[in-house]
Symmetry: C2
Subunit: 341 residues, 2 copies
DNA sequence: TTGAAAGCGCTAACAC
DNA sequence: GTGTTAGCGCTTTCAA
């Protein structure tokens, strides 16, 4: 029986209420007890401002009520919208959210998965930058349920949620083509990633579909970023002034393309149409606002956390793999508003 | 002695290495042991893929190595840049980061502080939406160290980091005035908050400094958001076409002002200059890019986490209160580039 | 140097 | 309905 030092524990309450610690626990967890006992325990707890020690509870129960979300970069709007959804669902379900930035380092991704063995988190949502064989190995003997946001090879024993960036790119391209654009440049991000290759595939697919030739000179690969997008667009337009539209791998690049066009005195969308991807907050920032393809980052976040919660609730169903459909959002950067200014 | 069920524990390792659990613990924590013992324990641990149970460790040690960051909205770029800094510093210091969105609900803010008593987190960085008397009361008997990002009354017994939005607003206003602007409108966010009142104060201070009258008709208060900023600006310009510049309480509002101006066919910055605040990623998104005042959100995040870590490292110094100086970032929305297009 | 044992705060099985 | 007690996995005295 400790003295009054330190915060109150079940023992403190028990002493004050004149009951055993077991009764304290029962009352506090809403299990049966005589009304008189209930009253005394609750009063003692209230008077002492008792708050159960969550760590002790976790040790006993084997669950921490914590979820981890690990992604490459906290600042990226795409991940921010995932965090937002995850947090919005995890919180009312009684889970805290642990945030982990892997800084796009593969070794760090592996570490997060391995560290599930420290029992500090009940489950993990991981957005890997690239999936290696090592990833698959580590993922398949993770100590806790994991849901991957991204593309996994068929048969990987891990739940996952993926975007469909091929169709997304096709959607944007069809829209440009439908608007009469014929010389469509393509500013892609790094093309050694799965999404990078997929967007490129979508671009070529849509051209083929329309019976247009694929001119490699119209494609530029660059880092993500507004400045990079502007530079790439300048390069494209310098080489080929006949370009009538630019399709960009994300909104930052597209914003850069808009800057470049306006700096050259081109009118958007009349002389140059620009389309981006992600439909982040940035898409609405520019003027004209960006036409963009929503790859469903919020939706992917929502699905991922729901799949994880289902696993945690003992769902022992087979491996799930959901694909989120892209959605084209048309704005002023590709289509002039009805009433011209 | 448990069977092989469940993940390995100190006991499993001890059995395999033929030593006591105490020796296992010592070796694993780098305390002295005979070389032979060290070798056997390490080998057993490696073979079993042992990972210490973090929860048990926390229960014993009284520390979780977790920090909590609670702010009103996960999606707000200002808080995102704080998260980024906090995470960047907490991680190498061996702390995990728990994210909590209060959704701007004061009761939720109080709950986060109170829940520090559950020992689930070693410390808290809180961005309150508004500080009430109740906040001060709850904060002063928090169970763990807390650092507040925001303005606290003098003498509050809590570490804090604040922005200087009065000076920030003055900075932007002086810049507009120096550019020859005389009829400066002001689009403020909700003015029943401390920052709201401060920006308003800065606006009036700068006008007075310049010997200009304060015309209440030039000020509009509105919700944050691009659409709200555009609507407010249209209203202002409808009422007074002589307005030559708009100072906005944040970048979203400023972007809205830019949209409104361009929709009316006004040239920026020649016919209308626009300045924002926060210098978020949005400021670079528009064309022309926004002049904005950086209120140091990244810097505030950095300071807050450092103050918290100092507290946790046993620093029992007095209450600290740091103020971060604002910084004006001039871009095309207030000053035309050298070479006009 | 090492092992036995206590105990962090809690929940739950078991006996009364 | 209530109390006693074991035990979650770990670290750390205290003896040997």
């Amino acid at each position: 029986m400790t003295t009054s030092a330190g915060p109150p524990t079940v023992e403190t309450i028990a002493a004050r209420a004149g009951v055993s610690i077991a009764s304290v626990s029962r009352v506090l967890n809403g299990h049966g007890a005589r009304p008189n006992t209930v009253r005394r325990v609750q009063q003692a707890a209230a008077e002492l401002g008792y708050v159960p020690n969550g760590v002790a509870r976790s040790l006993k129960g084997g669950r921490t009520r914590q979820l981890t979300f690990a992604m490459p970069d906290v600042g990226n709007p795409v991940y921010v919208s995932m965090v937002r959804q995850i947090q919005a669902i995890a919180k009312p379900s009684g889970y805290r959210l642990l945030l982990h930035s892997t800084d796009a380092v593969a070794a760090d991704e592996l570490d997060v998965v391995r560290s599930l063995a420290d029992r500090t988190s009940d489950g993990l949502i991981l957005v890997p930058i690239r999936v290696t064989g090592e990833h698959l190995k580590v993922l398949s003997d993770a100590a806790r349920p994991v849901v991957v946001i991204g593309s996994l090879p068929d048969g990987a024993p891990v739940d996952s949620v993926r975007a469909d960036s091929v169709s997304g790119a096709v959607l944007a391209m069809r829209h440009l083509l439908a608007g009469g654009r014929r010389r469509i440049a393509f500013v892609n991000g790094p093309d050694d990633t799965v999404p990078g290759r997929n967007r490129s595939l979508g671009y070529r697919t849509a051209l083929e579909e329309a019976g247009l030739p694929h001119d490699p000179a119209l494609t530029v690969t660059t880092e993500f970023g507004i400045a990079a997008g502007a530079a790439a667009t300048h390069r494209l337009l310098d080489a080929d002034p006949a370009i009538d539209s630019v399709f960009c791998a994300n909104d930052q690049l597209a914003l850069g393309a808009v800057h470049a066009a306006l700096d050259r005195g081109l009118r958007i969308p009349e002389e140059l149409a620009v389309a981006g991807m992600d439909d982040s907050e940035l898409a609405r920032a520019g003027h004209p606002a960006l036409t963009s393809v929503d790859l469903g980052s919020a939706e992917r976040g929502r699905l991922a956390v729901e799949m994880l919660l289902a696993r945690l609730d003992g769902g022992d169903h087979g491996v799930r793999c959901e694909t989120v459909a892209p959605r084209l959002v048309v704005r002023g950067s590709t289509v002039a508003p009805e009433r011209a200014s």
